[in-house]
Symmetry: C2
Subunit: 295 residues, 2 copies
């Protein structure tokens, strides 16, 4: 048996086309969706992510504004800028690229974003709504994972899902989403992490395994049951002298080891990553639409 | 073997004494902690809960204000009252007794409470902060469960915890609390519920089982492993013609069946219930203290 590849790149393309056409409709009504992206400092990975988000916006007709502050910016400066964006009627969505420099209280900055403009779904208000089962914007990676599974007609409803990793941007919000009493969810969810005594005991019986802890090739064939679905959120750079750049990007799952035992698996890159960006576009469309009745 | 009873009543008494002495200290600084309790309609169970909360406040020197609206009250009336309480400087904590009548959007009402006065920890903002690992007020039942385990010196850190039930007031916030990367937590958490295919498979290997779904005597000895810790949040009324009132209160766990296999078990009543009320007092103390720097 060889696993079906969950081709996030191609599904994301479809979603971007849908968003593009809906953005056009919205523009007809006089609303020009606009996303403000705030980048503090010069983290190279953040630069890449931000550039790809901006490019994706551009392609679907969403205007993006890039705002930069130096790594030395004070919390007060950042908060002041967010506050300006909150009250700027032309700006529908606000994205603060994480991580922020160490001297900044990340939660305070995120919490200062108007939840109605929160395209990442990271504000406490929006995460709380998600946990309550009444989400406004859903964090992009969790939303992208669900969307990817659905596009392949895979059964999410009622599944045993094991999530490895408890980050605020993937593990915890994904658990909050999947456990909901709602059609298409209703999963039995376990969150495993660095302090879990026996991860294999959990993964061995899971229908769906989501790896999101940032350890290259952690999940191996002997940890999963035959026929399971593997969703790999990891993005790890490993040295590879044969690669043009001297490194390559791999996930948290050992793809070659797993492809003969899993029923479905996401490649890295090209699996969850493009879905995350597609969901950002969809969230931006959503907040732009909502702006009609927020005012 | 016979399980150790986790005597919530006696631990709650200790906590109330501590709160009482801290309330006295706070009064010395000129702050008279005050909790406003809003009850809409005449649900008999709610009447009992509210009365017991008010009595508990009184005993520790927390002033409580009872506000009643008829079951026919409009959402607008409720929101107006909450808004008045939000801006009333003499009121430190606000508790809206749930459930609200069917025609009221419960989330909208809860969301209208100033998170700084939210003694139940039910606002989206506070639930989001909990999920992010930076809680302000923690919902009372989850907080009470952790407190009870700690008072008995039981190992929470790193445990396999299975929670049965995904309510917004117990199951989901408890999972959000226990999974955190923080000393004394770090649990591997599974949430089971009505759509879980094989609850026993999960409970059989749990170190700690929390039943919170409202089904009398659901958890039985053949579903747990020897030596597990059983925390029973259920409060179910069952007919008993031999009882003075014609009924008695039982939990979700079959106490008599489990007491020879569990290492520790909470009685119902007298286990989690009194801890919940004690945590409400502690949260009220907390919001009253915070009012000093909120202004």
């Amino acid at each position: 048996m060889s696993a079906v590849l969950l081709d996030g790149r191609s599904i994301a393309r479809q979603i971007r086309e849908e968003v593009k056409s809906e953005v056009e409709d919205l523009r007809q009504t006089g609303i020009k969706p606009c996303l403000a992206v705030l980048l503090v400092g010069e983290n190279p990975a953040s630069e890449i992510y931000v550039a790809s988000k901006q490019k994706a916006c551009e392609k679907v007709g969403i205007e993006s504004q890039m705002l930069r502050l130096p790594a030395s910016a004070s919390e007060r400066e950042i908060l002041r800028l967010v506050s300006e964006l909150n009250s700027d009627e032309k700006v529908h969505g606000i994205l603060v690229q994480l991580p922020l420099p160490d001297h900044i209280d990340e939660l305070r900055v995120i919490d200062s974003i108007d939840p109605r403009k929160d395209v990442d779904g990271f504000t406490p208000e929006n995460l709380g709504r998600l946990l309550l089962g009444k989400p406004y914007t859903v964090p992009c990676t969790p939303a992208g994972i669900v969307e990817l599974l659905r596009h392949y007609g895979l059964q999410v409803e009622g599944s045993n899902v094991v999530i490895i990793g408890r980050s605020n941007i993937v593990g915890k919000p994904l658990a909050a989403l999947l456990v909901q009493k709602a059609e298409g969810y209703n999963c039995t969810v376990t969150i495993c992490h660095s302090k879990t005594r026996d991860v294999t005991w959990f993964t061995k019986s899971a229908d769906i395994i989501v790896t999101a802890m940032g350890r290259a090739g952690f999940l191996k064939a002997d940890m999963v049951r035959s026929g399971s679905i593997i969703i790999d959120v990891g993005i790890n750079r490993i040295t590879d002298v044969t690669a043009p750049k001297g490194y390559r990007i791999v996930g948290d799952a050992d793809f070659d080891d797993l492809r003969d035992i899993a029923s479905h698996i996401t490649p890295v890159p090209g699996g969850v990553g493009p879905m995350t960006v597609a969901m950002l576009l969809r969230n931006t469309l959503k907040v732009a639409r909502s702006s009609q009745w927020n005012r």
